[in-house]
Amino acid sequence: MTKPKVAYVHLSGCTGCLVSLADTYEKLLDILGAVDMVYNLTLADARTLPEGKVDIAIVEGGVCLQDEESVHLIKETREKAGLVVAYGGCSATGNVLNFSRGGQWNQPQHESFVPINRLIKVDAYIPGCPPAPEVIYNFCIAAVTGDTEYLKPFMANEAGGYHCGCDLNTRVIENSLCMGCGTCAASCPTRAIEMVYGRPSFNNIRCIKCGACSFACPRTFLPVNKIKTLLV
């Protein structure tokens, strides 16, 4: 099997997602061994996207609309990549970048940042701030081995866009599907969710809109067939 060509595109993000990728420790070698990393500013030499097609582009960070280069890079990424993955909250949902108002040193003109699907079509979203290393590993291995069943939830549009704790209200609680497991609270990186009388109660001010809670909730999607594979 030829190794898929992977480009790691870094836009406006804190590099936490890349650190999380590296936090797969020895498994990082499996990932790097399974793919041909053709572009990755931190881990590989190339400074620009290579000529020609790449199979998968993993994008970290949102697009700064005042930064021409970022806008160009995301467009170029879409043109060259077979599969574009919005990796991490900033890229997938806008995350904390949603709160940017500009006027900060040393680029005071940079004021608005959008999740990448505002500018290009996205094939898969991995929410989370940052996504846990395990899920990145699983995602990469599933992409390489063609495990479409595992990948399905990431492809669903609901995983990307503008996501926040309110999704639990609109999709789960309002539909009387919540049964009080507390997974959302555990998944929240900012502790914006507290369980009150068996239901999540979230603090809008703390929520950074990473999308992790609604993705993790067993009542937004339940991968029963995949769960079966865990029981050996």
């Binding site: 049964m179 555990a186 990186p189």
Partner: protein, 292 residues
């Protein structure tokens, strides 16, 4: 009758009187957790401990036998156990965590192991899942209403609650029972789309249905679940019987043993399907794949 995947099903009763005295049924959960802790299979367990409010469980990270035993017994209201899993790994530094939960909570943990976007370094720390059978759960206010308005006893006076033989029982200064039918409207609505009675995705699952008072029907589902159970049985922690001992007679009107469990399981699945279809017909969002 399906009961999900399992390697063995049996009737168990804990021999340790200290556990038998506080446990809900056969003491399978508490005995196994204490045993797993002693043997180093786990270094902590997420259980439903007690809180300041009577019968309101508090999701608790138990790292000693005393804490596990203190959390024994069923609290018929929501205990968001998964909310503590990250604290168990981070703040308590646990490497081998057992999670005790209702079937839906077991799903949550298993989904987290597969898709834990916000669960950094958690999946490999889940050493064991113990599922407890569940037909429905109540909100705290719902439970309180059932006890105080229907059973007419103060919730503080209650020492044990049970569901069995078509009745909801509260025990304490006074034992009272009401038909389970009266409690249905206080069930949390989310339970109505739930199709899992026997915690089909836990390593071990256990409950009272199918066995007489003081015993538990117990499934060993995974290899690690079966290993732990077999060792605990070999070390003499349990009295064990075959489920066949409780089988209903071929002409029996009222089923018993696994026949009864199978009937109730089917009932739950059928009911869930009906609710699922009704909600769908209303155009409401319903969890994809929740039924199978």
């Amino acid at each position: 009758m399906s009961f999900g995947t399992y390697k063995e099903v049996m009737a168990l009763k804990a021999k340790d009187g200290k556990i038998g005295g506080v446990a809900q049924d056969g003491g399978v959960v508490t005995t196994l957790l204490c045993y797993a802790l002693e043997k180093g299979v786990i270094d902590g367990a997420l259980v439903a401990g007690k809180s300041e409010t009577p019968w309101m469980p508090k999701p608790t990270i138990a790292t000693t036998k005393e804490e596990i035993i203190a959390a024994a017994g069923t609290k018929y209201t929501i205990s968001p156990v998964v909310s503590t899993i990250k604290d168990a790994a981070r703040e308590y530094g646990l490497e081998k965590i057992a999670v005790v939960g209702t079937p839906c909570q077991i799903y949550a943990v298993q989904k987290m192991r597969l898709y834990g976007v916000g669960a950094r370094h958690i999946p490999d720390k889940v050493a064991m899942t113990v599922g407890i059978f569940c037909t429905e759960n109540f909100s705290y206010a719902g439970l309180r209403t059932v006890i105080e308005d229907h059973c007419k006893v103060p919730i503080e006076s209650v020492t044990k609650m049970e569901i069995g033989k078509g009745k909801f029982w509260v025990k304490g200064a006074k034992d009272v029972s009401i038909p389970i039918k009266e409690t249905h409207k206080y069930e949390q609505d989310g339970c109505h789309v739930c199709s899992d009675l026997t915690a089909e995705f836990a390593d071990i699952s256990t409950g009272s249905i199918g066995t007489p008072d003081g015993w538990s029907t117990t499934f060993a589902r995974s290899t690690r679940g079966k290993d732990l159970l077999s060792k605990a049985i070999a070390d003499g922690l349990f009295e064990k019987k075959s489920m066949d001992e409780f089988k209903s007679a071929p002409d029996a009107k009222i089923k018993s043993g696994l026949d009864l469990l199978g009937n109730l399981e089917k009932g739950k699945k059928d009911k869930a399907k009906k609710h699922f279809d009704e909600r769908k017909a209303l155009g409401l969002f319903v969890t994809p794949e929740i039924l199978y």
